[in-house]
């Protein structure tokens, strides 16, 4: 049925066009012959084709355009009185004799156009007459096109300011009234189309209507182009006229389209000044009209206007734009309670964007918008809708992006409340946005209470929430998250030590609940933050470490102990060991011997009980020796205990080469090159000799197990150590000892049973070269080396 109809329409259109062309041909012949009568006859015939009811708007438009083209020629003819000899006044009368109303009116409009141009009568009179006469055609499609034609031909003849048709009682007001009336009538026709015609299905009707909408909207465009329409006139005449029609027509299609047109076509200053009227009408529209889209568009336009130049901002304040818009929006949201959440939130997002552009310093406004969002969401379960979530992320990200300062967002009381309504993954997403903003802008967070709020906001990252176990998360994502949190911990900072201590306690409180998977990430940054504070305190009070100050190194070390202790739950012994050593060194620098000793003890306990992997043990023991070697805080007894323990562990490492290296490293524990440093030559030598014994044993083991002795690297290393301590002036290390060691190595190298190793060869060679070089240096060093023969 539909297809038939479509085919029929094609046929009818073709027939119509053919008829128009034919009549036009005769009309032109008549025009050429200056035969007015014939011309009128054929033009009327031609225009009769437009009387059809059979075409859809789209096809009717084709037909109309053909006729329109032909009428231009006719108009030229009318204009030239010499050709037809009839005065324009008479012509105006003459064309009204046409048989049917539609052709009659088209001709009348054509003549009217010429009439106005001739200025023989005031433009306003003619226009008024025409717009009234067009009432005669009440068929929607035909009427719309007719009035559209009227609009087109009158366009350049309106008595606008500065136009040639102005004056003598013809004013802009008349032009406005004319256009308004045409608009009103056209809208009525347009709406009528909705209810007309049996057997047409609703979608088709709506489609047809939307094809026609531009015809109606054009009038608004014309209104906006009239120069004489200033703000006053707009406010008093134009807007009320348009709005009255829009509201009264009670048609949702028309209302939406026309409001949209209105918003787009007229300048933003006007909208600003007429906000109340606009918003008032919005609330009177049909319930099915998508008001929030209109409000969003309006706010977007106003936001852009605000952004265009700072001079316009006072206007916004003057008209209390925010108050009006926000109350309109609250009303809309309340009125449409069944509207899905995403709709309300996108409105809030538009309002927030507007607020941030226009009133960036009014944090209370921003908070109001967030508060409205909280109200909307309260009582509902956490958001499931993906689009709604996206909108909320946009809502929360907007203030952060605008201010580039998360601290401001933290001061908004409603901000964390909105975040509560997010499901955990969106919450985490938002938390990451916050952290990334802080990192990017190097935001300095100075107060402990802000730190509290911050950590509450990012709670989803810092601990398990909602019963979602950490194991369910993707490992890479998890690591990335936690690394961000770790980096974040460095950002809060305050020059005042008291405040800094409070900040650290706040951070500690939050991260301690993170669970074994998170602690290895979050504990180290906190520890080093604390150590930095210790150092600051050290330099602040100089030698005096007063107990009366609340923030003292001692207090911090107690805190540190607690924090590192938490790692035992992970367990993370290697990391904890390193952190204990760091604390021990720091305590040593503060002259707190018992504290330092305690930290060392903890480190040793971990080494003994937890570090089982042999490679890890090697690194750990070197760290212990390295730390201990540097520390000067210990008294003789304590130092003895610790060095004894360290040397013992060194000798018990699994692999012989590792043992050897660790033991000769221990030799440095007994020789510190400071003025106050320990210089126990004997024990140094003991260590070195022990290292030699181990190296020997290693060689022997190698020859037993592999058939040839291993490389002599270890011996060369020990030789270098001998040289080092010899140079430092250790009396126990004699030239002869070194001499014999050199010979030992030479023998080993030449022996058949030793594996040739180019690396140890070069090492030995460069050592020998070094000895040579030292000899040649002369002076004290040269004398020392003199006895050596290599």
């Amino acid at each position: 049925m539909v297809l038939e109809r479509a085919e029929d329409e094609e046929k009818w259109l073709a027939e119509g066009i053919a008829a128009i062309q034919q009549n036009a041909f005769y009309m032109h012949r008549a025009l050429d012959a200056n035969n007015l009568r014939e011309a009128l006859k054929y033009s009327a015939l031609m225009l009769s084709e437009l009387r059809t009811s059979n075409l859809s708007p789209h096809k009717y438009y084709d037909l109309y355009m053909r006729a329109f083209g032909e009428l231009r020629g006719l108009e030229m003819f009318f204009k030239d009185e010499s050709r037809h000899g009839v005065s324009i006044v008479d012509l105006y009368e003459l064309v009204q004799h046409a048989g049917n109303i539609l052709p009659r009116l088209y001709l009348l409009c054509t003549v009217g156009s010429v009439y106005i141009k001739s200025k023989e009568a005031p433009a306003k009179d003619i226009l008024k007459d025409l717009v009234e006469m067009c009432r005669g055609v009440q068929h929607p499609i035909r009427g719309l096109f007719l009035r559209s034609y009227l609009s087109q031909v009158s366009r350049d003849k309106l008595p606008d300011i500065g136009s040639e048709y102005e004056g003598d009682g013809d004013t802009v007001m008349d032009a406005v009234e004319f256009v308004l009336q045409n608009f009103t009538e056209m809208n009525k026709l347009w709406v009528r189309l909705q209810h007309q015609g049996p057997g047409r299905i609703r979608e088709k009707r709506e489609k047809e209507r939307s094809e026609l909408r531009d015809l109606v909207g054009k009038n608004l465009h014309v209104l906006s182009q009239i120069e004489g329409v200033d703000l006053e006139m707009y406010k008093e005449t134009v807007l009320p006229g348009v709005l009255e029609q829009v509201v009264n027509c009670k048609d949702d299609l028309a209302q939406y389209y026309l409001m949209e047109c209105l918003i787009q076509v007229f300048p933003d200053e006007y909208h600003l000044q007429t906000l109340e009227a606009l918003l008032g009408s919005c609330s009177q529209l049909q319930p099915t009209v998508d008001v929030k889209m209109l409000l969003s568009q309006l706010m977007e336009r106003l936001s852009n206007y605000a952004a265009s130049s700072p001079d316009v901002l006072p206007e916004f304040l003057q008209v209390e734009a925010f108050a009006k818009l926000s109350s309109a929006i609250w009303k809309v949201v309340d009125a449409h309670a069944e509207m899905p959440v995403v709709g309300a939130i996108s409105l809030y997002v538009s309002l927030l964007t507007f607020t941030l552009r226009v009133h960036p310093d009014r944090l209370d406004y921003v908070d109001q918008v967030l508060g409205a969002c909280v109200n909307k969401l309260s009582g509902k379960p956490k958001l499931e809708d993906r689009r709604a979530r996206k909108q909320i992320v946009a809502l929360l990200s907007a203030p952060i992006e605008k201010y580039n300062d998360v601290v401001r967002a933290l001061t908004l009381p409603n901000y964390p409340r909105v975040m509560e309504y997010l499901d955990s993954s969106t919450n985490k997403q938002m938390a990451m946005v916050i952290i990334q903003s802080i990192m990017k802008n190097n935001t300095c967070i100075k107060e402990a209470d802000k730190v509290e709020v911050l950590f509450e906001l990012i709670e989803g990252l810092v601990k398990d929430v909602d019963g979602i176990a950490v194991d369910e998360l993707d490992e890479e994502d998890f690591n990335e998250e936690q690394n961000y949190v770790a980096r974040l911990i460095h950002m809060p900072y305050n020059d005042d030590s008291e405040e800094m201590l409070k900040i650290m306690c706040a951070v500690q409180k939050h991260i301690m609940g993170g669970g074994p998977k998170r602690l290895p990430f979050t504990v180290p940054p906190l520890v080093f933050s604390a150590l930095r504070l210790v150092r600051r305190l050290q330099s602040q009070d100089g030698e005096v470490v007063g107990e009366e100050l609340p923030a003292t190194p001692r207090k911090l070390f107690r805190l540190l102990s607690q924090i590192i202790e938490a790692l035992s739950s992970v367990p993370s012994p290697e990391l904890a060991l390193r952190l204990y050593l760091q604390c021990a060194e720091a305590a040593g620098d503060c002259d707190l011997e018992p504290v330092a000793y305690e930290f060392f003890t903890q480190a040793f306990v971990l080494y003994e009980e937890e570090v089982a992997d042999s490679k890890a043990q090697v690194t750990a023991i070197h760290l212990i020796i390295g730390s201990l070697q540097r520390m000067t805080v210990f008294g003789v007894e304590n130092r003895d205990t610790l060095t004894h323990k360290a040397t013992g562990y060194a000798a018990k490492l699994l692999k012989k080469p590792d043992q050897c290296r660790a033991v000769y490293a221990c030799s440095h524990l007994f020789w510190v090159d400071d003025q106050k440093g320990i210089k126990d030559g004997e024990r140094v030598l003991l260590c070195l000799k022990r290292a030699l014994r181990i190296a020997n044993a290693a060689q022997q083991m190698a020859s037993v197990t592999r058939g040839s002795a291993g490389p002599v690297t270890l011996f060369v290393e020990i030789l270098n150590k001998y040289l080092y301590l010899f140079e430092k002036g250790n009396p126990q290390i004699t030239s002869s000892a070194i001499q014999s060691l050199v010979e030992l190595i030479q023998n080993e190298m030449q022996s058949d049973s030793t594996t040739q190793d180019p690396a140890s060869d070069t090492f030995f060679a460069s050592t020998v070269r070094y000895i040579q070089y030292q000899k040649e240096k002369g002076g004290v060093m040269g004398e020392k080396y003199e006895p050596k023969k290599v």
């Binding site: 770790a486 460095h490 990430f521 180290p524 620098d589 510190v672 060369v716 460069s766 070094y770």
Partner: protein, 227 residues
């Protein structure tokens, strides 16, 4: 063993004011030698300790370190996380790293040697060499690895020492991370320009928010090329 640190000469760039953007410095380095030879720039840095002790490289450093200008990177270790490794890789694909005691990746080597041009370079984090930061002990490592230039870290203090065997360089900490060994650490890194038998070491330090550059010249004596 002679420490050059006390006698550094201020860098003079063909009379241009030192207030100019430091990131152009890399190109001006080429101009100093007529700009026609192929540049071999080696970036030496380490001890970033991200995220344990520092959130990120200083912004001023980041803006200077642009991909495509550097031919090799040697890193003393303690990055500590993969993100830093990936970032360095984008600066230059030829990346060499030695293991630091806090590095997440346990498979980096304890020491590494490589040859660039006429120079043999050695790389080690330095926590293995006791006493930490001690020159003579580091010299022993240099003899053991048989290299002209030894690059180590761990102390977070920039140093450059010249001695008979060669050069020992510590690029410091690129992020200015806390160190139990050094107080008041300034972020620093080193750029070496290797040209034949000569290497110019540029050190970039961030002091009070400004990037300061110094340079040290080393020329290799032929006796050490005996191997």
């Amino acid at each position: 063993m002679r420490c050059i640190k006390g006698k550094r000469k201020r860098l003079i760039l063909e009379g241009r004011s030192r207030e100019k953007e430091k990131k152009d410095h890399l190109w001006r380095v080429a101009n100093l030698w007529g700009g026609t030879r192929k540049m071999v720039l080696v970036l030496a840095l380490g001890d970033l300790h991200v995220p344990h002790r520092a959130p990120d490289l200083p912004a001023k450093f980041k803006s200077m370190l642009v991909p495509g200008k550097i031919q090799h990177i040697i890193c003393t270790g303690n990055l500590c996380i993969k993100e830093v490794h990936d970032y360095l890789k984008t600066l230059c694909p030829d990346l060499h790293i030695a293991r630091g005691e806090y590095d997440e990746e346990t498979r980096y080597p304890e020491t590494k040697t490589l040859t660039i041009g006429q120079f043999k370079l050695g790389l080690c984090h330095g926590h293995q060499v006791i006493p930490w930061g001690d020159l003579d002990s580091l010299a022993m490592l240099q003899r053991q690895l048989d290299v002209d230039i030894l690059v180590t870290g761990h102390t977070h203090q920039f140093t450059a020492y010249k001695h008979e065997g060669g050069v020992v360089i510590n690029p410091g900490s690129a992020t200015g991370a806390y160190s139990s060994i050094t107080y008041d650490v300034n972020p620093s890194f080193v750029l070496m320009d290797i040209d034949g038998l000569r290497v110019v070491v540029y050190v970039y330090e961030l002091i009070d928010g400004e990037v300061k550059v110094d340079k040290i010249d080393f020329k290799k004596t032929t006796t050490t090329t005996a191997h």
